[in-house]
């Protein structure tokens, strides 16, 4: 785990109160119609009904014990889903608070302002929101600028600026304007706002099963059908072999053999996966996108903010021949006094610890787009003529001095090829210009990002850096950050073309963006994460929204997608591997009366046939409960190559699935054999 990840509260812990809260929901889910979606659990429920009937007709301790535990198996399954859903409920409740109806000041086409309830606002309506008022619906700022408190949605307490035009024009319904007044054009219909969607997502009520989940369900259903056939045909076959079996025992065998563990936990795994994203303040608009995140082959990452810190820092001073280092340092310091940008301050930090006071009588020359220089004009200090110091882009400064110098070109070139930005420092004393040297401004690559990219490479994901820098600079930064490829001097069209090109090769692409001009690329990408600070168009185009607006989150999203799939696969493998031990428990017990020699197959030395059967059934039910935390938390995931991941998970869940039930059933048998009358 690196420091870029948002801390989350432990999510795999099950508290008794959580279980108690989830119980009513779990019982409601026992409705057979609700179970149709998970055929495995439906079969268990049908089996439970059948054993109930059989036990009523012919009561026995074994019969009632099996019946109770079959019912518990179904309940544990629905409980898992209910607990998973419950975890989103608290968050949903706080979001609902945002939806209390307020009144809005709507501007009519004629220009008049009328008060209407916020729920009657439609797309295209224009409303005025002043300081202290709540924004009545999702929309876009069309006039004005304001600071807005979005903490209720994002959890971030610092207010954000929202202004018309540009990439920070989107506002979310329910957030509060803190200062100034803005005019907002509504972009969502009542009931379909961002907060509405968030509530639906975190509650899991809008959950649609993802393609892989459906495919897995098909396989699980097929395995269920196979074992139904095994158990149904075993009835006449056992009868032929003079080992007639009670239906109750065959039902117990059936429930133990069908993949109940994964069948019960499948939907909980999916809900918990979405929940993990929500905890990191990412909202996936569909489960499909989360699953696609696990399959991503190419990540497109913006340089600024993702790979580098937003600001460049001065790292080095390079004096020209004949100029003393200290002279250059002093001039650089002077020229930066007027420069309040982070870059300017970084020069001060590099040269001395704190900025000296501005000499009396000096004139600060601030940076302007036309001069592309900043500096200072000092008063005449007695030796004829004032002194002017400037720093800026090489071309601008040499023009100011009036001539270039070969030595300077060498230094400028050297800085550029290492990915830095050269700032030339010069002075002019009494009208005579003199070049002093170069400040090396460097893009600072985020700490730890290189390691993250190495991890990505290990799991087979290619990273591509997107930047507006020129190719030489871009390549140098790419080298330092360890990305695999760069797209330099990138336009939005270039991005779109790159995504299309990768997709044509069969690769899945993820990217993040915030501007309206990013929208086509976000829509084209398989996983498009829009920044919450971005425009409405960007948010509509992406299939995820990052409330923290942290582009690095893309890496987390991929890992969560993978973790979701791994959890699903691990529990399926575990479930299927369990069958071996269950056979060893139940089959000898079923037939040992007819064929005493089968006792040698009772490798666990279970105390009696009834105890063996019941132990297997109880184990089968309890293992669901035992695995609920794992399903909710997801299996431990560390980026590694597919081969090593497979090896590790196979040992843990495949071999573990073979061994665990032998131990578990034996231990249960030790207890269950004490039950009187069994």
């Amino acid at each position: 785990m690196t420091e870029t990840r948002t801390p989350e509260r432990p999510s795999g812990v099950l508290t008794p109160s959580q279980l108690a809260e989830a119980l009513p929901g779990a019982l409601r889910k026992l409705d057979p119609r609700a179970l149709l979606a998970t055929p495995v659990m439906l079969v268990v429920e049908v089996g439970a009904v059948a054993t109930t009937v059989l036990s009523v007709l012919d009561p026995s301790v074994l019969g009632w014990s099996v019946t109770v535990w079959l019912w518990l198996t179904v309940v544990f399954g629905t409980l898992a889903e209910s607990v998973a859903e419950g975890r989103g409920k608290a968050q949903a409740a706080s979001l609902r608070a945002l939806q209390t109806e307020t009144s809005a000041r709507r501007r009519t086409p004629s220009g008049a302002v009328e008060d209407v309830p916020s729920t009657s606002l439609h797309v295209g309506d224009v409303v005025l929101v002043a300081a202290g008022e709540r924004i009545p619906g999702d929309g876009e700022v069309v006039e004005g600028v304001a600071s807005v408190d979005e903490s209720a949605v994002t959890g971030e307490s610092a207010p954000v600026i929202r202004e018309s035009g540009g990439d920070r024009s989107a506002v979310t319904g329910g957030t509060t304007v803190l200062s100034d007044e803005i005019v907002v054009r509504i972009t969502s219909e009542p009931g379909q706002s961002f907060v509405d969607r968030m509530i639906a997502l975190v509650e899991g009520s809008e959950r649609q099963r993802t393609p892989n989940e459906v495919a897995l369900n098909v396989l699980l259903s097929a395995l269920t059908v196979v074992f139904v056939v095994v158990c149904v045909t075993l009835w006449p076959i056992a009868a032929y072999s003079d080992a007639r079996q009670p239906v109750l025992v065959l039902l117990a065998l059936l429930v133990c053999l069908i993949p109940t563990t994964i069948g019960a936990l499948l939907s909980a795994i999916g809900i918990a996966g979405m929940d993990r994203l929500v905890r990191r303040n990412v909202l996936a608009m569909s489960g499909r996108a989360v699953e696609a995140a696990g399959d991503i082959d190419v990540l497109l990452l913006d340089k600024t903010g993702t790979i580098t810190l937003g600001n460049r820092h001065a790292t080095e001073l390079l004096p020209l021949d004949g100029v003393a280092y200290d002279e250059l340092a002093a001039a650089a310091l002077l020229s930066s006094l007027a420069d309040e940008t982070p870059e300017g301050r970084s020069v001060v930090t590099l040269v001395g610890d704190e900025a000296p006071a501005v000499p009396p009588g000096a004139t600060l020359v601030e940076f302007s787009a036309t001069t592309r220089m900043s500096g200072i004009d000092l008063l005449d200090d007695g030796d004829g003529g004032g002194r002017e110091v400037r720093k800026g882009a090489a071309s601008a400064v040499t023009a100011w001095v009036g001539r270039g110098e070969p030595g300077l070109d060498v230094l400028v070139e050297r800085v550029s090829t290492t990915g830095g930005t050269p700032l030339v420092v010069a002075e002019s004393v009494g009208g005579t210009g003199r070049l002093l040297g170069v400040i090396h401004l460097k893009d600072v690559v985020k700490p730890g990002i290189r390691e993250r990219f190495a991890e990505m490479r290990a799991i087979g994901i290619r990273t591509v850096m997107i930047t507006g820098d020129n190719a030489v600079t871009a390549r140098a930064i790419a080298e330092e950050a360890g990305v695999d490829d760069v797209l330099a001097e990138a336009t939005p069209e270039d991005k779109l073309a790159l995504i299309r090109q990768e997709q044509e090769g069969g690769r899945l692409v993820a990217m993040c963006g915030d501007g309206t001009n990013d929208a086509p690329a976000l829509a084209q990408a398989d996983v498009g994460v829009a920044m919450n600070t971005g425009t409405v168009a960007a948010k509509e185009a992406g299939n995820m929204v990052d409330l923290d607006s942290d582009p690095t989150k893309l890496l987390d999203v991929v890992e969560i997608g993978k973790q979701l799939l791994i959890t699903r696969g691990a529990l399926t493998t575990f479930s299927v591997a369990n069958d071996v031990a269950k056979y060893f428990a139940i089959l000898p017990a079923m037939f040992v009366v007819a064929f005493p020699q089968l006792d040698v197959l009772n490798v666990m030395r279970l105390s009696s046939p009834s105890s063996a059967i019941l132990s297997a059934v109880v184990f089968n039910a309890l293992v669901i409960v035992a695995l609920i935390p794992l399903a909710l938390r997801g299996v431990a995931y560390r980026p590694a190559s597919a081969a090593s991941l497979l090896q590790r998970n196979l040992l843990l869940y495949g071999v573990g699935g073979l061994v665990a039930p032998f131990v578990g059933i034996k231990l249960l048998d030790l207890v269950i054999s004490l039950v009187p009358g069994l």
């Binding site: 495919a215 098909v218 396989l219 196979v226 056992a238 032929y240 299927v576």
Partner: protein, 554 residues
């Protein structure tokens, strides 16, 4: 322990022969199914059949062609059987009963070669040579064609469900692969003493003064393709135990070699067709592992297994030919049930209980080690997809095999495939034990009698064709039941596999990277073996328990 060395020796020799020749044939097979050129004789055939050999068929057309072709085969064989007495070279045998003719027709068209009759006592030369031997070629060819179509489906991208041309694949399988090898093999078999003539019965005076009827016939020619095409239908009732079919240990070795040659080579050809030879090696390795395990177990059971008589005699010689001995019989048993051949050189009924159980289990795995010609490959590939699906998720990607995503529709077809045979088999056994007509034909009582029925249904549903013995199966009940088992056991999986091939052919290919589950590494071989044993094998544990296991432990 002196018997152990020759036992290992024959295995080593067989492995060596295969190791030397399988790669060559694999290359030839891959070229056969990918070449654009037609041989002159093939062109003539296409003209006679009125097909366009270059037409790229949609999988549905491909499947319909295969089904239609097989239907014609069933009808022709049925007619030959029913009208035998009116046809030349009948050797005076009468018409087969309706249920028997149906059973035989289905049996040979489905590459099963289950024989309810004694060949030498029921069929004339015309039926044997122009009916059964022809089907031995073309039914094998159909299996190879379907496997080729499947490999092609995996190799193609975005071809709209087109998987090749059935008739081209079939004709090439026969003309370029089966006929030439069978011709050479038949000649070698004749050299080794196998009979080849068109003579009728010859009555001999025996040493003891009695008489014996010896039936000659085109044995070597049928024998060669019987093994090469994993058919298994013997000219004689006792199959490869008959000295005219399999006279010496050397001919025995050659026959086993012929059985294994094409199935293993198909795995190699698959790797070449999909453009990654390692994939073929991996699939072939799983086949080899399963076959080796079965061989080791059967050999142990027959040479040192339980049972009072075998223990006293130092080996289970009952029902085995002395010219082969336990080891060669055990190896032959493992080879013939690991493939869908069904030839026998000893009576499986007389194998020790664990030995019989292992050959039974070999068939139940679905004939994938290495399986029938073609069918073994596609059966194994379907299991590879199940493996990828179960384990593939554990690498954190949605499952894909050879760059083809396994989605809901693909999984539906795979699930149906995995379901088909167990359902047919178990329902068949349940039906057999539930009606009086089922157990009526059984020689033994108790678990062994159950095993006899279980073996028959297993053999039919998996298109193996070997008989355990002890079951009088020539009754209307058994002929009808086993006929249905064979028919559905062959064509249901085939249609599903072709549908899958069509979907793969239409799908784009996801490029492989470090995040992709590698399907050529030893770990995958272990995994696929495990899935075959757990996912398929576990289905049959209860019935095996009530048959061979109970018997073994008594």
């Amino acid at each position: 322990m002196s018997a152990v060395l020759p036992a290992l020796g024959q295995v080593a020799l067989l492995a060596l022969l295969l190791a030397l020749t399988v790669p060559l044939l694999a290359r030839h097979l891959a070229r056969t199914y990918t070449s654009e050129d037609h041989l002159a004789v093939e062109r003539v055939t296409y003209r006679v059949l009125r097909v366009d050999p270059d037409a790229d068929q949609h999988w549905r057309t491909y499947a319909l062609s295969a089904l239609g072709f097989s239907l014609v085969g069933v009808l022709a064989l049925y007619a030959l059987g029913r009208l035998q007495q009116h046809l030349p070279l009948s050797l005076g045998f009468g018409a087969l009963p309706a249920d028997g003719a149906w059973n035989t027709a289905v049996s040979f068209v489905t590459n099963t070669n289950w024989q309810w009759y004694s060949g030498e006592a029921a069929l004339g030369h015309l039926m044997q040579a122009s009916g059964l031997t022809v089907q031995n070629f073309v039914s094998a060819g159909v299996g190879m064609a379907v496997a080729a179509a499947f490999a092609r489906g995996l190799a193609r991208t975005e071809r709209g469900g087109r998987v090749g041309n059935f008739f081209t694949d079939l004709v090439r399988s026969v003309v370029r692969v089966l006929l030439p090898i069978a011709l050479v093999a038949a000649c070698v078999l004749v050299l080794l003493g196998v009979v080849q003539n068109l003579a009728g019965d010859r009555v001999m005076d025996t040493l003891t003064g009695g008489t014996q009827v010896l039936t000659g016939g085109p044995v070597a020619s049928q024998e060669a393709i019987k093994e090469l095409g994993t058919n298994g239908g013997g000219f004689y009732n006792v199959n490869s135990a008959h000295p005219f079919e399999n006279p010496t240990p050397l001919s025995n070795l050659l026959e086993m070699y012929l059985i294994l040659l094409v199935p293993f080579a198909m795995a190699g050809a698959f790797g070449r067709i999909v453009g990654d030879k390692r994939q073929g090696y991996a699939v072939g390795a799983v086949m080899a592992v399963l076959l080796s395990a079965a061989t080791a177990l059967v050999t142990w059971a027959e040479m040192a297994g339980p049972g009072t008589a075998p223990q006293l005699a130092g080996g289970a010689m009952e029902g085995k030919e002395v010219r082969f001995g336990e080891a060669a019989s055990a190896l032959f048993g493992a080879v013939t049930t690991g493939t869908s051949t069904g030839a026998v050189n000893a009576m499986h009924d007389s194998f020790t209980a664990p030995g019989g159980g292992v050959v039974l289990f070999s068939m139940m795995l679905g004939e994938i080690a290495p399986g029938g010609v073609g069918s073994g490959l596609y059966g194994m590939l379907v299991l590879a997809i199940v493996t990828v699906f179960l384990a593939g998720l554990m690498v954190g990607r949605t499952p894909e095999y050879l760059g083809k995503k396994i989605g809901q529709r693909e999984m539906g077809l795979v699930a149906a495939y995995v379901l088909a045979t167990p359902v047919l088999l178990l329902v068949g056994v349940a039906v057999a034990v539930s009606f009086d007509a089922g157990p009526a034909g059984v020689l033994n009582s108790g678990p062994h009698g159950f095993t006899e029925m279980l073996y028959a249904v297993t053999s039919a549903a998996n298109n193996n064709g070997s008989a355990f013995g002890g079951l009088t199966s020539g009754t209307p009940f058994w002929n009808s039941l086993l006929g249905l088992e064979m028919l559905f056991g062959r064509f249901l999986p085939m249609i599903l596999v072709l549908a899958l091939a069509g979907r793969f052919a239409a799908a784009p290919r996801v490029p492989a990277g470090a995040g992709t589950l590698p399907t050529h590494r030893p770990l995958f071989v272990v995994l696929l073996t495990g899935v075959a044993l757990v996912v398929v094998g576990l289905t049959y544990v209860p019935v095996l328990l009530l048959g061979p296991v109970v018997e073994s432990l008594s």
